[in-house]
Amino acid sequence: MAQLFTRDTQAIFWNNNKTAIQRMLDYDYTIKRTKPSVAAIVAPTSTNKFEKFFYGPEEIMVPIYKNTAEAKAHQPQADVLLNFASFRTAYDVTMEALEIGGFSSIMITAEGIPERLARGMNETAREKNVTVIGPATVGAIAPGAFKIANIGGTIENIVQSKLHRAGSCGLVTRSGGLFNELSNIIAINADGIAEGVAIGGDRFVGSVFIDNLLRMEANPEVKYMLLLGEVGGTEEYKVIEAVKSGKIKKPIIAWCIGTIAKYYDSGVQFGHAGASANAEAETAEAKNKAMKEVGIHVPASFNDLPEIISAVYHELHASGTIKDIVEPPINVCPKVRKSKEFICTISDDRGDEATYAGFPISSLATPDTGKGIGDVVSLLWFKKQYPKWATEFIETVMKTVADHGPAVSGAHNAKVTARAGKSVVESLVTGLLTIGPRFGGAIDGAAEYFKYADDNKLTPAEFLNHMKKEGVPIPGIGHRIKSLKNPDLRVEGLKKFAREYFPATPLLDYALTVEQLTTSKKENLILNVDGTIGILMVDMWRALGYTEVEIDEFITSGTLNSFFIVGRSIGFIGHILDEKRLAMPMYRHPMDDILYDVQVAEKI
C-alpha cells in the first residue's frame, strides 16, 4: 500500500465527535469529494439512528450504529477506523475492530493508554497488517483525498497551509501541533505535502517513523520527506539504517526537538510521554548528529528548518523531479449555515415533477406503467422497489382488510359520528381512533408473538405455555364461528397466494403447527385472518432480505397496523358515505339496551 488514503477512502468514526466529523465533511466539500469521508458513526449509548452534518451549504445524514460490528456490516467499504474512545476503552475498541477485520488502518486518539495494552494492540495490528496511527495523535492526512478528524485545524488554515491538494513532501512528526505548524512552513517554503502523519506522543505507538517513511518512499507522489523527531527512543536510528542500506533514496529533511534536555537530569520530562532520553544515543543531539552523518538534511536548529526546506524543494524543482502544481478549483464552505428542522427521505417536490423515492409520480400512476398501489406503498413506506409478488401481497392484504361489516366497533363509531352530522374526515378519524390493541391489533400481536416463539425455537407446546404464563390469549388465533372444517376463505386465499408466490414461508409453517395444537383443544382456535396477515408479512420481509432486527423494528413501529389502517379506511369511508346518502338522523342508543346500576355515592 503506497498510499495511506485515496479520494474514495471512507471511515467509521468511533464516538460521535460532532466538531471533528464536521471538520472532515467541510474538508470533503472543499476538495470536492464525491462521497463523504465518514460513512458511519459508532455511538454505543446513543438512541439516535443518524446525526445531521453540513456538506457545504446542504445537510447530510451520517448513520449511527451501536457497535463497530454493526457499522462495519452496513458500511463494509469503510476501511478506516477513527477510534476516538477514551484511554479506558480505546484498547477494547481497537482489538474488537481487529477481530472484525476489514480495516486497513486504525487511528487512535487517546493519550495514556496503559503501556502493555498499547503494545498488545500495536503488535496484533502489525500481525494483521493493519496500520495503526497513534495512540495520542491528531491523525494523518492525504491532501486532496482524505483527512482524519481535526488534523490541519480549521478549514481556513487548511487552505492557507495548502492541505487541500497534494504537494510533494511526505511529513512525519510525533507532535500534532507541530505537524500543523510544519504544514504551514512547507506550504510557504515549498509546494505543500503529499501525505502526512502525526505518529503520536505516547511511548508505544503503532506505526513508527520508519513504517511511514518506507510507505512514502514507495509513493510516487512523495518527492522528499520531512521527519520531526524528539528526544527519547531510538526510532530515528531505524531511519538512519534505511538510508544507509539504500532502502530510502528520496531526500529526507530531519530534526529532533528536545536539545534542551541535555541541560537537565532525567527528572525533567520534556513534551510527550515518549520524550525522555534513557541513554546518550536517545538525546536529540546524538540523533541529529547521526542523521546528518548519513546525508539526511539536518538544520542547525528548528528555526533553520524553513531555509533547508526551501533549498531541498528548489533543487528538486530545478532538476524537474517536482513539477509545478496546477491549483485545483475548490468549493468554499458558506460561513453561515442553517440547520434544517425537518428531514424527508421518501419524496421530493423540488424538481419538475414530484417523485416517490426517486420515481416521478407519472411513472407509477397510470395503468400503462404496470404499477399498483402496492408499488406506491413499497416506495413511500419502505423506500424500496419490492418485487411483484410482494406488492401484490400488500394489495391483497389491503383488499382483505378493507371492511368487515357495520357491527365492528370502528365502523360503528364512524357511523354514529356521521349521523351526528360530522364531516367525512371527522367521522373517519373517529373510526380510526378505535384501531388499537383490541381492534385490528391482532396483526401486530400475531407477528410479534409468533416471531418471538420462532426466533427462540419454542415448540408449539412451549409457546402455548409461554403465552399462558404471560396471561395473554395468542393474538391471531381463534374465530367466532370458523373452524378447520369450516375454514375462513380469506385465510385460505392468503395462504394459497403465499404458497404459490413467496420464496419461503417459515413463520406461516410454524404457525400452522401451532394451529394444529390449538384446534385439537378447541375447534374454532384457528389461525385467523389477522394472524395470517401478520405472520405472512414477517415471511415477506424475511424473503426480501430484511434482518430480524429490522423486522422487529417494523413490528414495534406499527408498520403492520398501517396496512390495516389504510385498508380499513376504505371501508370506514364507505360506511360514512352510506350514512350521508341515507341521511340518517342523529343516533341515540335505546335505554332498554343499557343496564343501569347506579348507587348513591358514599361519603369518605
Binding site: 481535526n150 485545524g153 500534532g176 506522543g201 508505544f204 526537538i257 520530562q269 513534551g271 510527550h272
Partner: protein, 445 residues
C-alpha cells in the same frame, strides 16, 4: 510520564498481596515494615512481634540503590546479624536527624561524581536472614524496544552487577507471547550455574515472577537478590517501577500506591502539585516543571511539541540560566483551566524582581492549533492578567504572544486589547510569524 518508581516496601507488598496466585509453590513470610523514625518502629513492634523476636536489617527506602556502598544498610551492631529492635530504632533516628550524602555511582568502592544531599525520611526494616551465598539469586524484567525481557542469574547482589555479561541469562518475549511459550522457554534456559536440584524451583519462581510483572503492569521489576531455600523465598532487595497509566485498572491490585520524589530531588512545590491535580481531573493536558524560580524568562506554551521547541530555542539564544520553567497546556483546556494555569505562572513570576533589574519576559507561545479554541483559552489568560496586572507592572513583565488555530484572530485581538487596557507591555503575532520568532524578538531587546 508513564513509568514511576515505587518504594521497595510497596513493591514487596504488591507481590505479597498476590503471592498465592503467582507463586503457589513457594512461601514468603512478608515480614517487612516501613517507618519514618525510631518511635514508629517501636510502635510497629507492638503488632508485629517478629520485630522484637528476630534480629533485624534496616535501610532507607527512598528509590536509590547502592545503599550498602553508601554505608546505609544496618545489619550489624558488633557482628553481622545482631541488630536488635532498639539498635535499629536508634540507628534510624540517627540517620534521619541530619542530612545525608548519597553517591549514585561508584568505581569499585570509590564513589564517583557529586553526592546528592537530602534528609532520609523512609526506612524499611526486615528480619536478618542467615543464608549461604549460593542461595542468592537474581531476577528482573523490563521492556526493551518492543519486547519484554527477563534477566536471570544464579548469583545475586553485587556480583551480578559487576559481572553482568557472563552471569546473566536474558530472554526476550513479544507482548503477544503466551504463558505456555514463556514457561517453556524459561524452563529451557535456566542459568547453567543454578544447582541441578534447584533448577526446577528456580524456573518456577521466574515464571511466576514474569507473569506477575506482566499482569500487574510493572514497567520494571527487580529482585536482587532473592534467597531460595527449597520452597521458602526471601526477597532481600527489590526495585520496581509501575506503568501509572494502568492505574485506573489496577486500583484493586496495587492498592493505594504512592509515587515518592527521588532522594535529593526537590520536593514538588505546591504550585506544581496543584497543576498536577488539575491535570489529573481534566481531559486536557496541563504540565508544569519549575526549573529556576528566580530566572526571568517564563513560558506558557500550548502543545507538547511546541513547548519543547520554545524551550530549545530559548536555550539556543540565552542558555538555560534565564529559563524559569517548562510546561505546556494542550488538548483544548477550558477557559477556567487555562485561567488557573496562567495564574499559577503569573503568581510565581511576580514574586520577586529580577536580580539584575531587567524586565521579566513571558512567552505565550504555541503552534497553529488543530482543535483548541484559541479565543477561549486566551480568555482564561486575560482573566489571569486582570488579577495580576498590578503585580506584573510592579515586577516589570514584557509579554510576547504567538499563536494560530481555531478562532485565533479573536484570541489575539482580545489579548492585545486586554493588555493595553491594563497597561501591560505586549507584542502579539499570528501564524504569519515563525513559531519561535518571538523568542528572538524578546531576547534581542
Amino acid at each position: 510520564m508513564a513509568q514511576k518508581a515505587i518504594r521497595e516496601y510497596d513493591a514487596k507488598s504488591i507481590l505479597a498481596k498476590h503471592w498465592d496466585k503467582y507463586f503457589p509453590d513457594f512461601t514468603y513470610a512478608y515480614e517487612t515494615v516501613i517507618v519514618r523514625n525510631g518511635s514508629e518502629l517501636t510502635k510497629a513492634a507492638k503488632e508485629k512481634t517478629w520485630l522484637k523476636e528476630k534480629k533485624l536489617v534496616a535501610k532507607p527506602d527512598m528509590l536509590f540503590g547502592k545503599r550498602g556502598k553508601n554505608n546505609l544498610v544496618l545489619f550489624k551492631d558488633a557482628k553481622p546479624g545482631d541488630v536488635s529492635l532498639a539498635k535499629a530504632a536508634s540507628w534510624i533516628d540517627e540517620k534521619s536527624s541530619t542530612e545525608q550524602s548519597v553517591y549514585f555511582s561508584f568505581d569499585g568502592d570509590t564513589p564517583t561524581g557529586e553526592p546528592s544531599v537530602d534528609m532520609l525520611t523512609h526506612f524499611i526494616v526486615e528480619p536478618f536472614t542467615p543464608h549461604e551465598q549460593a542461595e542468592e539469586y537474581y531476577v528482573s524484567a523490563t521492556c526493551v524496544g518492543d519486547d519484554d525481557v527477563i534477566y536471570m542469574s544464579a548469583e545475586g547482589g553485587m556480583e551480578v552487577e559487576e559481572g553482568w555479561d557472563e552471569k546473566v541469562t536474558e530472554l526476550a518475549f513479544s507482548i503477544t507471547a503466551t504463558e505456555d511459550e514463556i514457561a517453556e522457554k524459561i524452563r529451557a534456559n535456566v542459568p547453567a550455574d543454578v544447582a541441578e536440584k534447584d533448577k526446577a524451583n528456580f524456573a518456577n519462581f521466574c515464571i511466576g515472577f514474569f507473569k506477575a510483572y506482566r499482569e500487574l503492569n510493572f514497567a520494571y521489576l527487580e529482585i536482587n537478590p532473592f534467597v531460595m531455600q527449597g520452597n521458602k523465598i526471601e526477597l532481600l532487595d527489590m526495585v520496581a517501577k509501575l506503568d501509572d497509566t494502568a492505574g485506573f485498572m489496577m486500583k484493586e491490585q496495587w492498592g493505594n500506591i504512592e509515587y515518592p520524589t527521588s532522594f535529593g530531588m526537590e520536593e514538588k512545590s505546591p504550585e506544581v502539585l496543584a497543576i498536577e491535580e488539575a491535570d489529573s481531573k481534566s481531559g486536557a493536558s496541563l504540565k508544569l516543571t519549575i526549573l529556576k524560580p528566580d530566572a526571568r524568562i517564563w513560558t506558557m506554551v500550548a502543545g507538547g511539541g511546541a513547548s519543547v521547541v520554545y524551550a530549545d530555542t530559548i536555550a539556543d539564544y540565552a542558555g538555560i540560566e534565564d529559563l524559569a520553567n517548562y510546561g505546556e497546556y494542550s488538548g483544548g483546556p477550558t477557559t477556567g483551566e487555562t485561567k488557573f494555569y496562567a495564574e499559577t505562572i503569573l503568581d510565581l513570576m511576580t514574586r520577586e524582581k529580577d536580580a539584575k533589574g531587567r524586565d521579566k519576559v513571558l512567552i505565550i507561545g504555541g503552534a497553529i492549533a488543530n482543535f483548541t479554541d484559541v479565543a477561549k483559552t486566551f480568555t482564561g489568560i486575560i482573566q489571569a492578567f486582570e488579577n495580576y496586572a498590578d503585580k506584573m507592572k510592579k515586577v516589570g513583565v514584557k509579554i510576547y504572544v504567538r499563536r494560530g488555530g481555531p478562532n485565533y484572530e479573536k484570541g489575539l485581538k482580545d489579548i492585545k486589547e486586554a493588555a493595553d487596557r491594563l497597561g501591560l507591555y505586549i507584542e502579539v503575532y499570528g501564524p504569519e510569524t515563525h513559531v519561535t520568532d518571538i523568542v528572538r524578538m524578546a531576547l534581542e531587546k
